[in-house]
C-alpha cells in the first residue's frame, strides 16, 4: 500500500513506481549529455561510463537502451540535453538487491538549459564545501544517483553567496565541484585532480585533456591542494551541459586576475568547435 502526499495510490502509473530502488535507495546511475541536431556528443563514452557504474552495482544493462536513446534523440533539432537514468527497478523493502524486477530506464530530453551570461561570462565564484568527497567509496568515480551531498553543497554555497561549490577529498586535495571537474592553469601546466581524489572521469574533462595535448599545453592529472589552486593563474570547471565555465574566485580569493584568462578562452573556444564538429559532421 502506498500513500503519496496523503492520498492512497494504486496500480502502475506512467511515471516511476514509488517502490523503485532508484528512488528508495539511489540504487542506479545516470548520464547527462548534450545533443546537437540529433547527435549525442560522445555517446559511446557516456555509455561506457554508465556501464562501469552498472557493473559495480550489478545491474544488468538493458539491451535496447542504445536504440531507445537513438529513437528519442535522432529527430531533435538544435541544442538539447539528454539524461539517461538506469535504476535496479522495483523491489520490496531491504537493502539486498535480490528480488528486484527489470531495470528501469528513464530517458529524458529537454531543451539545453540556459546558463546566464551575467554569471558565467565574468567567471564563477566558488565556495569550498564544508563536507568532503569520499575518494575511498566503492562508487567514487561513478555517476550514481547519490547526488545528495552535491545538492547540500550547492545549498551551502548559494547561502554564502557563491555560484558553485568545490569539494576537497578526505585527504585535503582538490577533488571536483558539485557536478563539474576542476582544471587549474599554473602558468606552466594545466592540472586536473585524478580520479584517485574522488573526481568523476568527466567526458568534457577528457575532451579538454585531448584539446590541451593537441594545442601543446602540458596537461596532467595530479593531486593538488587548495594552496596550489589559489596561486594559479586561471581555473575553470567542465561539465557536459555547461561546457567550460571559468572561475573568477575561490572562497574570497581571486584566481589570477579574477577574470577568464587566455588559456581558459582557448580551451573554451576549441571545446565548442569540437562539439560542433563531432555532432554536425
Amino acid at each position: 500500500m502506498i500513500w503519496m502526499n496523503g492520498e492512497r495510490q494504486r496500480g502502475d502509473g506512467p511515471h516511476v513506481s514509488a517502490s523503485d530502488r532508484g528512488l528508495t535507495l539511489a540504487d542506479g546511475a545516470f548520464e547527462t549529455m548534450p545533443v546537437i541536431d540529433g547527435t549525442v556528443f560522445r555517446l559511446d563514452r557516456h555509455l561506457a561510463r554508465l556501464a562501469r557504474a552498472l557493473t559495480t552495482l550489478a545491474i544488468a544493462e538493458p539491451a535496447s537502451m542504445r536504440d531507445w536513446i537513438v529513437t528519442a534523440t535522432q529527430s531533435a533539432a538544435g541544442a538539447m540535453s539528454l539524461r539517461v537514468t538506469v535504476t535496479r527497478g522495483v523491489a520490496g523493502g531491504g537493502l539486498a538487491p535480490s528480488g528486484a524486477g527489470a531495470p528501469t530506464v528513464v530517458i529524458a530530453l529537454a531543451p539545453m538549459p540556459q546558463f546566464p551570461a551575467a554569471t558565467y561570462d565574468p567567471g564563477l565564484s566558488v565556495h569550498v564545501a564544508s563536507g568532503r568527497r569520499n575518494e575511498h567509496a566503492v562508487t567514487a568515480g561513478l555517476k550514481t544517483l547519490a547526488y545528495t551531498d552535491a545538492v547540500a553543497a550547492m545549498i551551502e554555497a548559494n547561502r554564502a553567496g557563491f555560484d558553485e561549490a568545490l569539494f576537497l577529498d578526505t585527504s585535503g586535495h582538490c577533488s571536483e565541484a558539485s557536478a563539474s571537474n576542476l582544471f587549474a592553469w599554473t602558468g606552466r601546466e594545466l592540472l586536473t585532480p585524478p580520479t584517485a581524489c574522488g573526481a568523476l572521469p568527466g567526458i568534457t574533462r577528457g575532451a579538454v585533456l585531448e584539446i590541451a595535448a593537441g594545442a601543446g599545453i602540458p596537461a596532467v592529472e595530479r593531486a593538488f591542494t587548495m594552496d596550489v589552486l589559489l596561486e594559479c593563474d586561471e581555473a575553470f570547471l567542465t561539465s557536459s551541459l555547461r561546457g567550460i565555465a571559468p572561475i573568477a574566485r575561490v572562497a574570497h580569493a581571486s584566481i589570477g586576475r579574477g577574470a577568464p584568462g587566455p588559456v581558459t578562452d582557448l580551451i573554451s573556444t576549441a571545446y565548442r568547435r569540437l562539439v560542433n564538429d563531432e555532432c554536425r559532421s
Copy 2:
C-alpha cells in the same frame, strides 16, 4: 518529454514523477519504523531525525506529514514496517534546488519482513566493505536517500559469501553496517561508534544505550578499530526492523565463541520487551 523503458510517457501518474529529485538526485531523506498494532515505535524520534535531514537539505517539512502517518498506520494490526520518504519534489534539470515544487511524501506500509532464523539465530557473518563511510560528509549521520554505497557493499558481501557488510570510516575506525549500527562487548564495556565515525544515530541504537544503562552495563560511544572488534567477546547490529542481530564472525575471524552471547541475549530480550511495552501500552 519522458521515455520509460522505451515508451514515451505523458502526464501525472499515481506513482512518483520521473522528474522527482528524490529519483534524479537522491535529494531527500527517509525513515523506516516498526509498527505494532497500529502504534509506531518511537515515532517522535524518527520524525526528529527526519527533520534534521530535511533542515540540512533545506526541504520544508510537510505540515500534514504526521497526520498522514497516523492515518496510514492507526488501524494496522500486528507487526508492520512503515517507510516515510520525503523528497524535494519535482523539478527541471540542474543541481540547484530552486524551482522545485512541493515536497513529495511517500508513506508505505508493508508486513514486517521475515528475517530467516537460519541466518539470524546463529549470528551473522560480516564482511568488511572495501569502500569507506565518509564521516566528513555534510550528510553524515543523516538518513538521506543516498544508499548506493550501502547497496554496493551488500553486493560485495553477498558475493564473498557473507550476510552483512561493515564499513570503516576514512580514518580506519569501525563505523556501521550497511543499514545497522554496530555494538561490541569487550567483557567490560559495551562500545558503539560515535556519529563522528559516520554512524547514523539509530533509534534502536539509542534504545540499546538506554537498556544498557538501566541494566548496569557500562555503555559508551567511542571510536574503535577493527582490532578491538576482533578481540571482543560479543558483537551485534541494531536496526529498526531487524532489532538486535548477533554477529558470529567478522571477515574470517570468530567474534568471541562465534555464537550469540549472554549480553547480546539480555539486550535482545529487553529490546523486544521495550518495543512491545511502548507500543501496546
